[in-house]
C-alpha cells in the first residue's frame, strides 16, 4: 500500500480494492444506491408487477371459465343438433313407411281390380265362346239332319222318315 498516494490515478500499482481510503466513499454511495433501489422497488415496481401478475392470473382464470362455459354450450348445442337430426330421421322414416304402405295399398287395390276385370272379361268371353260353340253345334246338327234327310231321300226315295233320321243323327252325333 506504499505507492498508492502518488500513483493511484495514473496507474494502479497495488490493488485498488485494498485502497482503504476510498472505502467510506464507496460505502456511502452504495448505501444510497441500495436505499434508492429498495424504495423504488417497494413503492412502485414490485406492487405494480404483483398487481399485473395477479390481474393476468385473474384474466386467465376468467377466460378459462368462459371457455369452459362456451365448451359446455357447444356440447349442448351439439346434443340438440343430434337430437333434431335423429328426430328428423325418424320422421322421414315414418313418412317413407307411410308412403310405401299407401303405395302398396293402391297397388294391391289396382291389382285386385285388374284381376277382377280380367276374370270378368275372361268369364264373359268363355261364355260367349261356349254360346258360339253351342250354336255351332246346333247348326251342325241341323245341317247334319238336313243332309242326312236329303241323303236318305236321294238313296231311298219315299222312305224318308224325318223323325227317325233325326233320332239317328242325334244318336250318331252323341256317340
Amino acid at each position: 500500500m506504499a505507492t498508492e498516494a502518488q500513483g493511484a490515478v495514473e496507474h494502479a500499482d497495488g490493488m485498488p480494492q485494498l485502497d482503504f481510503s476510498t472505502y467510506p466513499n464507496q460505502i456511502f454511495w452504495l448505501v444510497v444506491t441500495l436505499v434508492v433501489i429498495y424504495l423504488v422497488l417497494t413503492k412502485i415496481a414490485l406492487p405494480r408487477i404483483a398487481s399485473v401478475l395477479a390481474e393476468r392470473q385473474g384474466t386467465i382464470a376468467n377466460d378459462l371459465a368462459a371457455a369452459e362455459d362456451l365448451k359446455q354450450q357447444a356440447v349442448e348445442a351439439e346434443e340438440a343438433y343430434n337430437k333434431a337430426l335423429a328426430d328428423a330421421k325418424a320422421e322421414a322414416g315414418r313418412i317413407v313407411a307411410g308412403a310405401r304402405a299407401d303405395i302398396q295399398k293402391d297397388l294391391d287395390d289396382a291389382t285386385a281390380k285388374a284381376d277382377a276385370e280380367i276374370a270378368a272379361k275372361s268369364a264373359e268371353s268363355e261364355k260367349r265362346i261356349s254360346e258360339i260353340r253351342a250354336s255351332a253345334l246346333e247348326s251342325i246338327e241341323a245341317v247334319a239332319n238336313d243332309t242326312a234327310v236329303e241323303v236318305v231321300k236321294a238313296i231311298m226315295p219315299g222312305a224318308e222318315d224325318g223323325k227317325a233320321v233325326k233320332t239317328a243323327v242325334t244318336a250318331r252325333m252323341k256317340g
Partner: protein
C-alpha cells in the same frame, strides 16, 4: 533495483503462483459437483429441476475456496 528487493518480490510472486494451484482444486470440485448433478439428472430427469438451486449452492461453496486462493495470490502480488 536492489537485489534484496528483488528477492522478496520473487518470493512473493512464486508464492502467488503456488497459491494459484488452489484454483485448480476448486475447478475439480466444481466439475465434480456439476458432473454428479448431470449424472443424477440423466437418471432421474423429473427431479433435476428442483435440485438446480442446490447445485448452484454447492458450486458456490466449492468455488469460494478457489476464490480464496486467488485472493491470496493477489495479496501476495500487490499488497506487500
Amino acid at each position: 533495483m536492489a537485489v534484496e528487493g528483488d528477492l522478496v518480490q520473487m518470493g512473493a510472486l512464486v508464492g502467488a503462483g503456488l497459491a494459484c494451484t488452489g484454483m485448480g482444486g476448486a475447478a475439480v470440485g466444481v466439475g465434480h459437483v456439476v458432473g454428479n448433478y448431470i449424472a443424477g439428472a440423466l437418471r432421474n430427469p423429473s427431479a433435476a429441476a428442483s435440485q438446480t438451486a442446490t447445485m448452484f449452492i454447492g458450486i458456490a461453496f466449492s468455488e469460494a475456496l478457489g476464490i480464496f486462493s486467488f485472493l491470496v495470490a493477489l495479496l501476495l502480488m500487490y499488497a506487500q
